[in-house]
């Protein structure tokens, strides 16, 4: 069984309240708890939930500036504003994230090459710290704290509300293509040919294909559909699916994975297929299956996401995929895309220009952890990095190698806040910076 964190949950009932700091207690800001790793756990401490902070505060139809409380979800923002022609400028692969959680993890999406991370679209936020201070943070005010908090994994304080810039959209649909590619070189060719013309790009890769087919998959590229292109289209009826119970063992194993990946890859026979997607189907396909994580059984899974710099992306991506293919581990949920060069204000922001690979690994045993340690080494050697928001096992040394601005970040860590992630890779005794 997967380890469990002994912790208690409390809610901040109003954004005007102070942080409930009690002697000897450590807090961790908590949104929806969807982070894959231990950055949303606080063993022997308190999770301070933003669940009660779910109010909208202001929206300016002229500028697209939205102010809302920390716990407002992307789902709620989209439900409210998509019908009025506004969409979030950056969305991750699920809409079950909170506004503050998206800032704390500096989430990215399929439009990174043109839009950067979510942090690039944050105008300001209010931060409560355990010393009782309440600060407004923006590029002009408390700018260093602003930068430390974006991608700061909740370790710099508790965000109560934030103002972001929404993006005008002409429709609720995306129009584009699905392009089949037979190997990694073709992927990079399609990616290079696509990023100029398409705002959104992402690929699925068959992680079990080796040899000449290494890195084969499907490349999706799309733009928001114009009102004309979306004319007459209505949101498709989606049958809510669920994985109702936890199977006793993982349903993802060598056999099922091989079968699924082959069928899925061959499903598209033509090289290019024209597609039109509703935003839910394009951005949030997994949200349609509740409790999908249960398919991995009681041992659970590790998600791994890394990025390697553009200069070495061909060779290093090949090395990573070969390592995974030879281990015969992995899952059908494999995402590959290229990040652009737009820099996030976040000190610990994950994306850098290059190629990023994200995939699930059902936990088989020590071999799974060993594989990820080998991947870490390849990534570190290449000058890349691993995404903390999804990590549950990287070493302190790896983390320090991946994030050279860590020493700057430490100065802004709130001594009253910790997470299992920070204890693991940053160390309790080193947090007394403020």
């Amino acid at each position: 069984m997967y380890p469990r964190a002994p912790q208690v949950m409390r809610r901040l009932l109003s954004r005007h309240d102070d942080l409930p700091v009690r002697d000897g207690e450590t807090l961790l800001p908590y949104g929806l708890g969807r982070s894959y790793g231990d950055s949303c756990l606080n063993s022997d401490g308190v999770l301070l939930s933003t669940a009660a902070l779910d109010r909208f505060i202001a929206f300016d139809e002229a500028t697209g500036e939205l102010t809302a409380e920390a716990g407002v979800t992307f789902a709620a923002i989209i439900d409210l504003l998509a019908p009025r022609g506004w969409f979030l400028p950056v969305v991750p692969g699920t809409k079950f994230v909170t506004l503050a959680g998206a800032i704390a993890n500096d989430v990215h999406g399929k439009n990174h090459h043109g839009a950067g991370t979510f942090g690039c679209h944050v105008i300001s936020f209010e931060l409560l710290t355990s010393d009782g201070q309440r600060r407004n943070c923006s590029r002009d005010e408390n700018a260093e704290l602003f930068e430390a908090t974006i991608g700061g994994l909740g370790l710099t304080g508790f965000i109560t509300k934030a103002t972001i810039k929404m993006m005008p959209v002409a429709s609720a649909f995306l129009v584009g293509q699905s392009v089949r590619f037979d190997n990694l070189d073709e992927f990079f060719a399609v990616a290079a040919a696509s990023v100029g013309d398409y705002d959104y790009t992402v690929s699925w890769i068959d992680c079990l294909a080796g040899g000449h087919a290494l890195g084969r998959g499907h490349f999706l590229r799309a733009n928001v559909a114009s009102a004309d292109e979306a004319k007459g289209r209505r949101k498709p009826l989606v049958v809510p699916l669920t994985v109702p119970v936890m199977p006793p063992v993982s349903l993802v194993n060598r056999l099922t994975l091989k079968a699924f990946n082959t069928v899925y890859y061959q499903r598209q026979q033509r090289d290019v297929v024209q597609r039109l997607w509703h935003y839910d189907a394009f951005h949030f396909p997994l949200d349609a299956i509740s409790h999908w994580n249960r398919i991995y059984g009681p041992k659970g899974f590790l998600q791994y996401q890394c990025v390697v710099p553009r200069a070495v992306q061909h060779g290093v991506s090949r090395a990573l995929l070969r390592e995974i293919e030879q281990s015969a581990q992995g899952s059908f949920l494999v995402v590959f895309k290229t990040f652009g060069r737009i820099r996030s204000p976040g000190l610990l922001s994950f994306p850098v220009e290059g190629a990023t690979l994200a995939l699930d690994f059902p936990i088989v045993g020590p071999s799974t952890f060993a594989l990820l340690t080998r991947l870490d080494a390849i990534v570190a050697e290449a000058g890349g990095r691993v995404y903390p928001a999804k990590d549950a096992r990287m070493s302190r040394e790896s983390f320090e190698t991946f994030y050279p601005r860590l020493s700057e970040f430490r100065k802004f860590m709130d001594p009253g806040i910790k997470s299992d992630f920070s204890t693991r890779v940053l160390g309790k005794n080193l947090c007394s910076g403020l």
Binding site: L13, S14, R15, A52, F56, A58
Partner: protein, 244 residues
Amino acid sequence: MQRIVIFGGTSGIAEATAREFAKAGASFILVGRNPQALADICADLKLRGAASAESRIADLSDVAVLPALCKDIHNDMGIVDVALIAHGVLPGQPRVNDLDMETYDLLQVNVVSPCLLMVGMLHIFRAQGHGHLVVLSSVAGDRGRPSNYFYGAGKAFLSTLGEGMALESIGSKVRVLVVKPGFVDTKMTAAFKKGALWASASDVGAAIFKAVSRGKNGVIYTPRFWQLIMLVVKNAPAFIVRRM
């Protein structure tokens, strides 16, 4: 456009219900004690589609002012289509040997105040010829249980009062809805351990919106499975109920 007054506007269930009506473009007066919280909720409701939302600061435990408050609100709104009475507290069970002012205050807030507002608003609705009176009661009123019979007795009073008013209103355009939620995850119940029977405030809010939209007159349990649970509980023998 529906014109709605909510007494106890910062209640979790009231806010969730208001969000549903806001989506449909309603206009609101929210009555409560906390100006900041009410202002926050009003801003949120307007963003969600409310035609207007204003707060009215009043201490609803000050029962002497309630009849005048009802009249003022009616004058301000012109017509009131829906009145939701949602205020109340969930205290620990008072011990019978220290029946003191705290118990009196509890009865004032949970019983006398909503009772006067129900009477006041019903009177207004009858005079204007229509209106939907909605009162938040609780499944706790269906049976006296050792753990919370003071709270339960207050809710029983409201349920019975509301049911009587509903039956009396048959044949008119006035409706009275008694809402009996089960366990609901709100700030009132923040300290409780939550299990499978717990519903979210937004589930209950959606159920109330649906019932009002359909012109429901009478009693609803929400979520609906509580009707079945309470049927069993109401008929359960004493030796079981005393352990609940």
